[in-house]
């Protein structure tokens, strides 16, 4: 990842030329149709998550044992009362998946901003201050790489019991390393640039240099990274719930549904298959949006893709 020439040129335009308005800049972005599609689909997911109680046809935890293991509607013996069938306890799969969307997005909405804030702060500290802070941070990042996050999560769950809070804790601790590394790298090159030396030579404080000159140049990178981390976060939540150390059983999540459906793979394919498709769809849209944003924000990469 590298900084964009255009970004620093507009932020520190030496000639003080007027900057194009936000609307003009938005209009200049290429590839709007694709981008709009990704954003729309993502917003749809968010809508499903927010309005889960309204949209879900059934209570996701309501069991009806006589109706257990009903196949989806389009299969023989399926019925539209249970569009995606029922699980081994006769719970409605569609309703559980709708509530699962809520959990997945909740983890994203809480986990990613906290992870970003922590990672960026650490990266700024290490990159700008250097020296001891940098050494300590880079060893911590190595530690995160050498200690599997999943195992850490299993240990945490053994200490505190499975909960959504623990899932987010694991995501923040292990996810922040990615931000810290990237931000550190960018800061190392930014702080040697002319506009930073210029700011320093006119007596700008460290705080001001970071806030006014370094951070604005990091925004693009961080936004792209956050978008690409959406899929990672969803994966971690799903994997932890799959291992039984994620969300508690009263909160249906996609990973948990896959884990429960695993035992019925021979007779009820839809139980492990359908929640996974939801994970793939949401991760795919988030990744596509991230790639699109990177191309938009960093024109130099465009011809490489």
């Amino acid at each position: 990842m590298s900084t964009t020439e255009t970004a620093s040129a507009t932020i520190d335009d030496p000639l003080g030329r007027p900057q194009p308005s936000l609307l003009t800049r938005l209009r200049r972005i290429r590839g709007w149709p694709a981008g709009l599609m990704y954003i729309t689909i993502f917003v749809l997911f968010v809508g499903v998550g927010i309005f889960a109680p309204v949209l879900a046809p059934q209570d996701p935890n309501h069991q009806e044992l006589v109706e257990r293991l009903q196949p989806p509607a389009w299969q023989e013996d399926g019925s539209w009362d249970r569009p995606l069938g029922t699980d081994d306890l006769g719970r409605d799969v569609l309703s559980r998946m709708i509530y699962g969307t809520q959990i997945a997005l909740l983890v994203v909405a809480i986990g990613i901003p906290i992870t970003m804030a922590l990672g960026t702060t650490l990266g700024l500290l290490a990159g700008f201050r250097g020296g001891f802070a940098d050494k300590v941070l880079m060893r911590l990042v190595d530690l995160q790489l050498a200690f599997p996050a999943i195992l850490f999560a299993v240990l945490i769950a053994a200490i505190f019991g499975p909960s959504l809070r623990n899932v987010i804790l694991v995501i923040v601790i292990f996810g922040s390393a990615a931000y810290a590394r990237v931000v550190r790298g960018e800061v190392l090159s930014l702080r040697e640039r002319d506009f930073v030396s210029a700011a320093r030579s006119i007596g700008a404080s460290e705080k001001r240099i970071v806030a006014r000159h370094i951070l604005p140049n990091l925004v693009n990178t961080i936004v792209v990274l956050m978008t690409l981390e959406v899929a990672v976060v969803i994966f971690i939540e799903a994997a932890l719930s799959f291992l039984g150390v994620g969300t508690p059983v009263t909160q249906p999540s996609w990973g948990q549904m896959i884990s429960e459906g695993r035992d019925y793979i021979q007779i009820a394919w839809w139980l492990p298959a359908l929640p996974g498709l939801a994970i793939v769809a949401l991760s795919l849209v988030a990744n596509l949006a991230g790639d699109w944003l990177r191309d938009v924000l960093d024109p130099r990469r465009r011809n490489v893709r």
């Binding site: 060893r139 190595d142 530690l143 790489l145 050498a146 200690f147 599997p148 996050a149 999943i150 195992l151 850490f152 299993v154 240990l155 945490i156 053994a158 200490i159 899929a231 994966f235 799903a238 994997a239 799959f242 291992l243 990973g255 896959i258 695993r262 793979i265 021979q266 394919w269 492990p272 298959a273 996974g276 994970i279 793939v280 991760s283 795919l284 990744n287 596509l288 490489v304 893709r305």
Partner: protein, 310 residues
């Protein structure tokens, strides 16, 4: 081997040792917070005296700092104590399981490179064609699919539906196929994308133009000249992915009932078997760090410019 090289090698070794020290310290704290092994070690109706005796036997009555120092002292000698469950040395239990995990990890990495590199090259050479579109779609799906779910779907299709391959367990190369594919898919996607973008970049460079003007065939240019340059970033990403693949074995081994370290870790945490958890985390950390180490230094030999700079 100049002095610079030796110095950076020693520096890296010291850093690695420090990281391993941090890893085992963290796991020491975590397992002790996770549960009291007495619940596993002592029979349910054991008398308080008997429980106390067991505590003393395993050194669990000592204050934590003393336990910690003893732990580090023994760890340096690769002694992690005996498993609470089986009574065998914990290190032996882990080392017994290591080949299975390494097999699975190697299978995943080999699969990702053998499929990812050619697809990436083809995708770049046939840029803008339907072939390129399909390759990019494969990469996108690979990145968006959780490995454990992919594993289950592979079982569903190839084992349950077609009955071609076993659902899990060990035995032969046929048992290794599905778990390797499931575990390697994410790495494959990354390798494909990086190979593609690397090739696109390299094909524009001067030395390729020179090769073309010499009249070399396109095949020689691509597979002999361009690919060497394009694969450098792939090497780096493989180093990073070794850690992910090893971490991924924890879930994949559960899905495919694979008797490796991953499953051993999960069951040992469940039964508060400290010595085994500690030994397993130690071995996993060593494998990950060693892999990154090898990648970093092999990089120098692949790229003469880095060798000169170092």
């Amino acid at each position: 081997m100049d002095a610079n090289f030796t110095r950076s090698l020693i520096g890296r070794l010291i850093q690695s040792a420090l990281v391993i020290f941090l890893v085992i310290t963290l796991v020491f704290i975590a397992v002790r917070a996770a549960g009291d092994p007495i619940t596993v070690l002592a029979p349910f109706d054991a008398s308080p005296e008997a429980v106390e005796e067991i505590r003393q036997h395993y050194g669990l009555d000592e204050p934590l700092p003393v336990q910690y120092l003893a732990f580090i002292w023994n760890a340096v000698q690769l002694d992690f104590g005996d498993s609470f469950r089986t009574g065998q040395p914990a290190m032996n239990e882990v080392v017994d399981r290591l080949p299975a995990t390494l097999q699975l990890g190697a299978g995943a990495l080999i699969f990702s490179v053998l499929v990812g590199v050619p697809l990436g090259v083809i995708s770049a050479v046939k840029r803008g064609t339907p072939v390129d579109a399909i390759c990019r779609f494969v990469a996108l799906i690979g990145q968006a699919t959780p490995n454990f779910w992919l594993g289950l779907m592979l079982i569903l299709v190839f084992a349950v539906y077609f009955g071609l391959l076993p659902t899990g367990g060990t035995g032969g190369i046929r048992n290794l196929i599905l778990p390797s594919v499931a575990l390697g898919a994410v790495t494959l996607a990354a390798v494909l994308r990086l190979t593609r973008s690397g090739m696109l970049e390299v094909m524009e460079s001067d030395f390729i133009r020179t090769a073309r003007s010499k009249g070399l065939t396109e095949r020689v240019i691509i597979w002999r000249h361009a690919i060497r340059q394009a694969l450098l970033p792939v090497l780096t990403i493989l180093g990073i992915h070794v850690g992910r693949v090893i971490a991924g074995t924890i879930v994949i081994e559960t899905v495919f009932s694979w008797p490796g370290i991953g499953r051993l870790m999960i069951t040992s945490v469940g039964s508060a078997d400290y010595p085994v958890v500690q030994a397993a985390v130690f071995v996993v950390a060593i494998v990950i760090i060693a892999a990154n180490f090898i990648v970093d230094f092999s990089y120098r030999f692949f790229d003469p410019r880095i060798r000169a700079a170092a």
